[in-house]
Amino acid sequence: MVTPILSDEVINSTELRNNQKRWLDRAYVNPVSIMSGNKKLVLLNREHAKHMYSLTHYAEIVLQFCRERIGGESESKVFPWTKYLNKEEAEEFSRELLTTFEKATNSREWLLFEELLEDWKATANAISNPDLTKALLAKAEPSKYVKLKE
């Protein structure tokens, strides 16, 4: 007895060998499970597999960060650079982390989630350098601008 996953179809290796193209075409749309003796295998669209892997990987990270926040940890182990963020920034990061995770889960666009982490990490790294932060926060004075010639 095999419990279906993702509405898959279960076939044996002989059936796969006899109708290879049919089952590969089918697996592109929905998973196809193959029973070969005691071995249980699955044919799965690579994009689906990538999404499932990303979902698991990032869910673990988000869960760990939420645990740290709820537990009142002074420094995050999963995102150690958050120590450079002030309270408002840390809250903004937490909110964006959850909303972007939810969006990526639905849209499967994990690049958005990766970019969010990159952006906040770059922000924290910039804040860690007082000279750089001073320069970035300095009020612009257009009279001092110097044009780069083409």
Partner: protein, 98 residues
């Protein structure tokens, strides 16, 4: 090909930033030229600079970071869309702590 009318002007915030930019260009001439082309054409389009362009958040919202090298050569700037102008605020070496 980009239309020359749609290209962005690039300004340095002051003479020190200009000097730092050309110091970086002396070290990494091709990469700084690539950066200049990016800033003139697509200064906010991260799909054209995946992994290289970062959009800062929090207190630095509105500033962008372009990584000249993977190590520590960076350029920070903001974009004035109305004037079609990029203003470089800082150029130089900044090792990431994380």
């Amino acid at each position: 090909m980009s239309n020359s009318k749609s290209r962005y002007d690039i300004d340095f915030e002051n003479g020190r930033v200009e000097k730092d930019w050309f110091a970086l260009k002396g070290e990494f001439p091709e990469r700084v030229s690539d950066c200049e082309e990016f800033l003139r054409n697509n200064p906010e389009d991260r799909r054209k600079a995946i992994g290289i362009l970062k959009k800062l958040k929090g207190r630095h919202k509105g500033k962008l970071q372009y990584d000249i090298t993977k190590n520590d050569a960076r350029v920070w700037y903001f974009v004035d869309r109305k004037e079609r102008m990029v203003v470089i605020k800082y150029a130089g070496h900044h090792p990431d702590k994380y």
